[in-house]
């Protein structure tokens, strides 16, 4: 099954945890994987990958010109891959003006991870070093994008994230490639069943024992301990820790009633659809 397996999510939804799990699962050697040496294959918004494949200096291209190249670059990578490539993506699923998906969809499938937006808001505030109100605003912003400055060169290519709800819905409605939806909370509370489902979808030939071992090796506690010991290269410089709490429902310790209600007002349709609100509109987790 060569090609690309997109590991997709809105930020702070469990993507790194799943990458750590995949890295442990596909690791040939006996030793465990380090968070700074994962076996997955970079991120869709990597400037370096685009520059390397096209031979063009992307710093001389506009974001729109770059977007026109991105699907073709990743379709090329998928067609020439000698093994499955596991590539992270935080972009919402969008389309170019000519109707082509921005994401490479040739020889590709995606695992989409979603997480309770009440918990995402707390984690996002920590990650972006903003207050929770700003994180809530970002999650509700339909035009939100990162790395989209034209006054300096961002480290990565522009990623249109849109609002949290739109991010989830756009991926849910993407018809050009097979997608497996997985909730962070199910990964937490029913890991073997949830991770096994993802692995069957991806098409990896693994035993229950291998999956169990990889789940244990990529537990949140282990990832957090590793970060404390050796640091984590993906932590933003102004953020104290990348692996903060890893709990489902931790929002109760951080959000005011007003903040909770604002998030629910912004995202209730999608929250209801994915089991984050009960029939009375109250948070499940």
């Amino acid at each position: 099954m060569n090609g690309i397996v997109w590991l997709a999510s809105y930020p702070k939804s469990g993507n790194t945890w799943f990458r750590a799990f995949i890295s442990n699962l596909i690791n040939d050697a006996d030793e465990e994987i380090s968070i700074n040496k994962m076996k997955t294959d970079g991120i869709f918004s990597s400037r370096r990958t685009l520059d390397r494949i096209t031979g063009i200096e992307s710093s001389n291209l506009t974001a729109d010109e770059i977007d026109k190249l991105r699907p073709a670059v990743y379709n090329y990578l998928a067609k020439t891959a000698e093994r499955p490539l596991f590539i992270k993506v935080h972009d919402a699923y969008t389309y170019l003006e000519n109707g082509t998906p921005l994401l490479g969809t040739v020889q590709a499938k995606a695992v989409y991870i979603l997480r309770n937006p009440l918990d995402v808001a707390v984690s996002l505030a920590n990650h972006y070093s903003v207050d929770i109100d700003e994180a809530i605003r970002i999650m509700g912003d339909e035009s939100y994008a990162v790395c989209n400055s034209i006054k300096r060169l961002p480290d990565q290519l522009r990623q249109k994230q849109l609002s949290w709800s739109s991010h989830v819905e756009r991926w849910a409605n993407a018809s050009e490639l097979p997608i497996y939806f997985m909730r962070f909370e199910d990964m937490k509370f029913d890991p073997i069943k949830t991770f096994s489902g993802a692995i069957r979808f991806i098409g990896l030939d693994c035993t229950d024992g291998q999956i169990r071992q990889a789940v244990e090796a990529s537990s949140f506690e282990k990832l957090k301990a590793e970060e404390e010991q050796e640091g984590f290269s993906e932590r933003p410089v102004k953020t104290a820790a990348f692996f903060r709490s890893g709990k489902a429902g931790d929002w109760k310790n951080h959000l005011s009633d007003e903040q909770r209600d604002r998030i629910i007002m912004d995202h209730k349709t999608v929250m209801r659809k994915y089991g984050y609100l009960d029939s009375d509109g109250h948070p499940v987790y």
Partner: protein, 294 residues
């Protein structure tokens, strides 16, 4: 009849049908840049993607909406513009990877680097974008140091020593960088429409002669608050040069290329990791000048 213009850069002279006003003029020419039809493909390629093809002595690049470029044996560049492409846009991509491929074909080591003269010798600052090479070069320029190159740095051998040849006398700097150094961007030409990246000419502090290479600094990003410098020794020097060079496969004479690479490794090498979120180009420059004992 198309007018031809003569220029000098990287130690050789060019006759070009495309005006290159940022370059110094010349009388003679060893390299031609012409408009014409570019080959569809390169035979016996070493490396090929839908956007570029590379073989010893041959390089083909396709930039959608701008032009196709073909560089051959270090002597000829052919440009086939796309309809509606501006000369300015054609120039940008010509002076970047296409010129770099030509340099490799002519036997230079073409690095993705800026280079500045410090204490009479050349220091090359390597790193993939955005490692801060141009911001650092601008900071050093403002402190009075002469620039040799930005983005494409050409190294050759003179008198058995590795030297850096003077490149394009222009820094392509982003608005935030220029404003932070007190420059008025309203007086500057944007490199391309849609980008707040500006052409900053540095002819007043441009070094016109090749300068011996004394140090190579590899700039890298990290997420710590401090700047960390580590010496690079032995075989890792060669690895760093190769990883940061453009199109090493374009070189026809591998033996000469190896000799050049080996000669370049006699320079002092260091790896400098910093975060551009917390460390300004000014702080980085001060740190590096301290490390280089200036």
């Amino acid at each position: 009849m198309i007018a031809k213009h003569k220029y000098t850069v990287f130690g050789f002279n060019i006759e070009s049908e495309l005006e290159l006003p940022m370059l110094k003029t010349s009388i003679t020419a060893e390299v031609s840049i012409v408009y014409g039809k570019v080959p569809e493909h390169i035979e016996a390629f070493l490396e090929k993607t839908p956007w570029f093809e590379l073989a010893p002595g041959k390089f083909l690049l396709r930039v959608d909406g701008i032009a196709k470029y073909y560089a051959e044996y270090g002597k000829l560049i052919v440009i086939e513009p796309h309809e509606g492409a501006s000369e300015n846009d054609i120039r940008v991509f010509l002076l970047d990877k296409v010129l770099a491929a030509l340099l490799q074909q002519r036997g230079y080591l073409a690095l993705h680097a800026s280079a500045t003269v410090i204490s009479g010798k050349a220091v090359a600052f390597l790193g993939s974008s955005p490692s801060g090479k141009t911001a650092l070069a601008l900071e050093l320029y403002d402190r009075g140091y002469k620039l040799l190159a930005d983005e494409v740095c050409a190294i050759g051998i003179r008198n058995d020593k590795a030297v850096v040849f003077p490149g394009v006398p222009q820094l392509n700097a982003w608005k935030d960088t220029l404003v932070a150094t007190g420059k008025d961007v309203s007086c500057l030409q944007p490199v391309r429409q849609g980008l707040e990246k500006y052409a900053f000419y540095i002819l007043d502090k441009y070094c016109e002669k090749p300068v011996e290479l004394s140090a190579v600094v590899l700039l890298m990003g990290h997420n710590k608050g401090l700047i960390q410098a580590d010496a690079v020794k032995g075989g890792k020097k060669l690895e760093r040069l190769i990883n940061n060079s453009f199109y090493s496969g374009a070189t026809a004479d591998k033996k000469e290329q190896f000799k050049l690479l080996s000669t370049a490794t006699s320079a002092r090498f260091m790896q400098v990791a910093y975060s551009n979120r917390v460390c300004s180009p000014k702080e980085l420059a001060e740190f590096l000048l301290g490390e280089l004992s200036v």
